[in-house]
């Protein structure tokens, strides 16, 4: 697996250049590579899972330093439309990468201060061409804080990272506080699924379902990432709540008669995963929101004091520095109003 | 039933290459036409043209007075059978199955061969003296044996005219003679035969007509005695051949034999 070391939280200042303002500093990225980067970052390029990576930059309030556009595979989907709302330049910036390959010459032409990626190979390739590539990655869901910390170091904004950590812990604690009071028999059995292809697409769902006080029906199964299951297995699990990945899936669940005996279908408890900066069911720095949202879905009574609408607007303003309108917020939350 | 195949001023060959020009002959049931000619002169090409595998480049080919293009494949196959050079098919069919395929032309498209068709096939196999092969796998018999099976298949087809391309070329001495005998019997049963051979003796032994094709498109047709002369063989094959008469001591027949002379 990943060889991520816990990163050093103090920025290491490079070679005894204490006197005036040092031009560069050295940081250690998620996989332990030492990278010397300019003190002040004016241009950043994100490569690979751009949807996730950009959000980290937005969290620093530095969305306008992003110098690349969304690759077609992201730009074509409306899941990432807020990226170019946060920084309109993203819509017109050159695309440096398309999943298949980084166009090195375009990258050189942009001449970014740093390149963020989640993949060590890509980082090496870019570093080979004389640019600063930083691997940003994390293994356990909680370690997303470390990733934000790393960004804090890069942008010299440790206080913002600190704030995120606090928000993260506070939100999870708040949910846990209420959720832990729910008795075992009242706990709901939950399945996060792409219903069309009968799969549970990401192992992180086990984490946020648990954090939100639910019982994940796929929880006991040993696996790395995605999991496919048979229809019959689904009937056997008989989840009470299903989180699906698209509106189509939701319609499918209600229309296909093979699903009609499922608790979740009978009780109309099928919900579509929201997407704001990134898709909430996946690995993203919006994970605290995912937990909060899930908890409220699972136990509307117990969490009725939480106003998801307000929480979302607050988060957006605090971390993405964007004031969401009510309509926007409602649209994002979809099923939950 | 009489049936006539007429080749009128035919040109044949490959898309960018004409091999034979202006060939004419005709053959009826009961005839045995033996085609002689050097390697690469176009004997196989002519056969493929008659059978409609190659496009006719000129002239016309009439079967029973009608252009062969107007015949359906099925009716054509009922009239004319073909023995190709031996080859290996990729699947291990039994010899019986291969021979019974000769019955195809006599079956409706949705039908399979009946027990009667199998009986016909087995009779033909018997008549060629290869019944020991009936249950052998076609891909596992020797080249000569395969040639015999293909002949059996064409006989099972019960055509009026049989076209055979070097039917004896991989056969041993005995099988050659047996096949030639068979050919003679067939002609007695009023079947017409066109065959190629590299042996002028075969023309004497079994044919009623000979077509000798020489390089350069010169050709000659007639009875074996008229055509297969020492001079002609010399011209076609570019060797000295002496034609002698030998007396069959049992039947007291006079048999013509061609003797190639090695000495210069």
């Amino acid at each position: 697996g990943c060889t991520s070391k816990p990163t050093n939280s103090e920025p290491t200042v490079s070679k005894g250049a204490e006197e005036i303002e040092p031009k560069t500093k050295t940081i250690i990225d998620s996989v332990g590579r030492e990278v010397e980067i300019p003190t002040k970052i004016e241009k950043v390029v994100t490569v690979g899972p751009v949807g996730v990576l950009n959000c980290f930059v937005f969290t620093m309030g530095e969305g306008n330093t992003i110098a690349n556009g969304l690759p077609p595979r992201f730009a074509k989907s409306k899941n990432w439309k807020y990226h170019s709302i946060f920084n309109p330049a993203i819509a017109t910036n050159p695309v440096v990468e398309d999943g298949n390959a980084v166009s090195m010459e375009t990258l050189i032409e942009i001449n970014p201060d740093i390149v963020l990626t989640m993949d060590e190979k890509t980082a090496d390739d870019i570093w080979n061409k004389g640019m600063n590539a930083i691997v940003l990655n994390w293994k356990n869901p909680e370690d997303v804080k470390e990733a934000v910390n790393l960004l804090g170091q890069i942008y010299n904004k440790p206080e913002r990272a600190e704030e995120y950590s606090k928000y993260f812990d506070r939100t999870l604690a708040k949910v846990k506080d209420t959720a832990s009071k729910i008795s075992e028999e009242k706990r709901v059995r939950v399945l996060n699924t792409s219903l069309g292809s009968l799969s549970q697409p990401h192992v992180i769902a086990e984490w946020w379902i648990e954090e939100a006080g639910g019982i994940s029906v796929t929880g006991g199964i040993e696996r790395k990432q995605r999991l496919e299951f048979s229809l019959e297995q689904l009937l056997e699990w008989n989840p009470e709540v299903m989180i699906v990945s698209s509106q189509d899936d939701k319609e499918l669940a209600y229309s296909d008669e093979r699903f009609k005996d499922l608790e979740a279908v009978k009780n109309k408890r099928i919900y579509v995963t929201p997407s704001f900066g990134h898709v909430w069911a996946n690995r993203t720095m919006e994970q605290p929101l995912t937990v909060l949202w899930a908890a409220k879905l699972f136990y509307p009574e117990e969490f009725k004091d939480i106003n998801m609408n307000e929480e979302l607007k607050l988060f957006s303003e605090k971390f993405f520095s964007y004031k969401l309108s009510d309509e926007e917020s409602k649209e994002i939350l979809g099923d939950m109003n | 039933m009489e049936l006539k195949l007429e080749i009128n001023n035919v040109n044949c060959g490959y898309p960018k290459k004409t091999i034979l020009e202006n060939i004419s002959f005709e053959i009826g049931t009961g005839d045995i036409l033996c085609i002689l000619g050097p390697n690469g002169v176009g004997k196989t090409t002519l056969f493929k043209t008659i059978l409609g595998f190659l496009k006719l480049q000129g002239g016309s080919i009439l079967l029973d007075g009608q252009d062969i293009n107007t015949w359906s494949r099925k009716d054509f196959a009922k009239a004319i059978g073909y023995v190709p050079q031996a080859h290996t098919p990729p699947f291990p069919y039994k010899v019986r199955e291969v021979v019974v395929m000769g019955r195809t032309a006599h079956l409706g498209i949705f039908a399979s061969p009946s027990l009667q068709d199998y009986a016909i096939a087995e009779k033909v196999i018997d008549s060629l003296g290869i019944s020991y092969l009936t249950d052998s796998v076609y891909t596992e018999i020797s080249g000569g044996e395969r040639q015999l099976v293909l002949i059996a298949r064409a006989l099972a087809q019960e055509p009026k005219i049989l076209i055979m391309d070097e039917p004896t070329s991989n056969l041993d001495y005995g099988n050659q003679v047996r096949v030639l005998k068979h050919i003679k019997e067939l002609s007695k049963r009023n079947i017409g035969i066109i065959m190629t051979s590299h042996f002028p003796d075969h023309a004497f032994m079994a044919s009623t007509k000979v077509l000798a094709i020489n390089r350069g498109g010169e050709y000659r047709i007639g009875t074996p005695k008229e055509v297969v002369t020492s001079q002609l063989l010399q011209r076609i094959y570019n060797i000295r051949v002496q034609i002698d008469t030998v007396v069959d001591r049992v039947h007291n027949d006079h048999l013509k034999v061609c003797v190639p002379i090695l000495k210069d």
Binding site: S199 | H87, P90, E97, A119, S131, Q157
Partner: protein, 344 residues
């Protein structure tokens, strides 16, 4: 010496056996699955359904049996039959025992159709329809190119070439679709669709596939004996009195219906159409008279068994395509090496 009549009887027994086995397999398969129902319960539910009695068993059991298991079992059998029959027929027609049913581009075409439909967020019926359509389009393209290009000469060779061409082009289109696919949703969907699965078969899918199955298999069944002649090559078949052009056209149409419909419901299930015909040929010989029904029966049994493994071994479904490859490839080689009679 065995006479032809004895032979026929011998083959009758073999076919009878080959018919009984899938029937038994069918009933055994109903008892398999992740949802636990006892054999007794199954028996009661089945019989009361047959006798149209009211059942006082949980509704969900009925759903499991009639909406989930039986459709999946039937689909597996139809797909297995279809692929095996097309494989057998193509191997004969192309005189090449290494040919599989997608030689003319069906699976690349269908795969692209599916990828496109997934990209456009079509429903599952939409995906099936698009896959089926593009499967047909690919073969149509191959056919058109071949007949345009191959005047006389070795038409079968031209067919294979054109098939390779069309397959590659559609394969590139699949890659291109992956390339623009949303990586969080569409890309996995396309990737896993291509791996093949029968996991989400519904009753409706069974009806959907049944029509092209019948349209494809019945004509092939009727002309099956004549298919033998094609194994001897274009020229010999003609000389035997077969209108090869028409027969070939029929074979291609029927096989394509079978293959395209199979792929459109089951994804890319490899190796079945390549190996089971060989297995069948080992048992009953190469004569299509018996080979065709034997292929249909053995193909259905084979895929049913493999799918039973896929769906009931672990909570995680193993993609059918992977399973058939891992089971099929070594088996195939074993077969070829041990029955190498004459294919070299």
């Amino acid at each position: 010496m065995v006479t032809a009549a004895q032979k026929k009887i011998n083959n009758k027994y073999k076919l009878l056996l080959l018919t009984i086995i899938p029937i038994i397999a069918f009933f055994l398969s109903i008892t398999l699955g992740r949802y636990s129902i006892t054999i007794k319960e199954i028996f009661i539910i089945l019989t009361s359904k047959l006798l149209q009695k009211d059942i006082d068993y949980p509704k969900v059991m009925e759903t499991v049996i009639f909406q989930v298991r039986i459709p999946r079992i039937i689909a597996a059998m139809i797909v297995g039959s279809s692929l095996t029959v097309s494989g057998a027929v193509y191997q004969g027609m192309f005189k090449n025992p290494m040919v599989s049913p997608d030689i003319l581009g069906t699976s690349a075409g269908a795969g692209f159709g599916a990828a496109l439909a997934i990209l456009l967020s079509f429903s599952s019926l939409g995906i099936q329809a698009t896959a089926f359509m593009f499967g047909l389009i690919a073969v149509l393209l191959t056919y058109t190119i071949s007949t345009k290009v191959g005047k006389g000469g070795n038409i079968m060779f031209v067919f294979i070439l054109a098939g390779i061409l069309v397959s590659t082009v559609f394969q590139s289109f699949i890659s291109l679709s992956k390339y623009v696919a949303d990586p969080y949703d569409k890309l996995p969907a396309i990737t896993f669709w291509l791996m093949g699965s029968l996991a989400s078969i519904s009753q409706r899918d069974v009806y959907t596939i049944l029509i092209p199955f019948l349209l494809g298999i019945v004509p092939l069944f009727l002309v099956r004996w004549h298919l033998n002649t094609l194994s001897f090559g274009e020229e010999e078949a003609k000389a035997l009195g077969v209108d090869t052009k028409k027969l070939r056209f029929l074979v291609i149409i029927c096989s394509t219906l079978l293959t395209a419909s199979s792929i459109s419901v089951a994804g890319m299930v490899g190796w079945v159409g390549l190996i089971v015909p060989h297995l069948a040929r080992m048992v009953v010989g190469p004569d299509f008279k018996v080979l065709l029904p034997a292929s249909a029966l053995m193909g259905s049994t084979y895929l049913l068994l493999v799918d039973n493994i896929a769906r009931s071994v672990a909570a995680i479904e193993i993609p059918l395509g992977i399973l058939t490859s891992l089971v099929g490839a070594p088996f195939f080689i074993y077969l070829l090496l041990n029955t190498r009679k004459g294919w070299n």
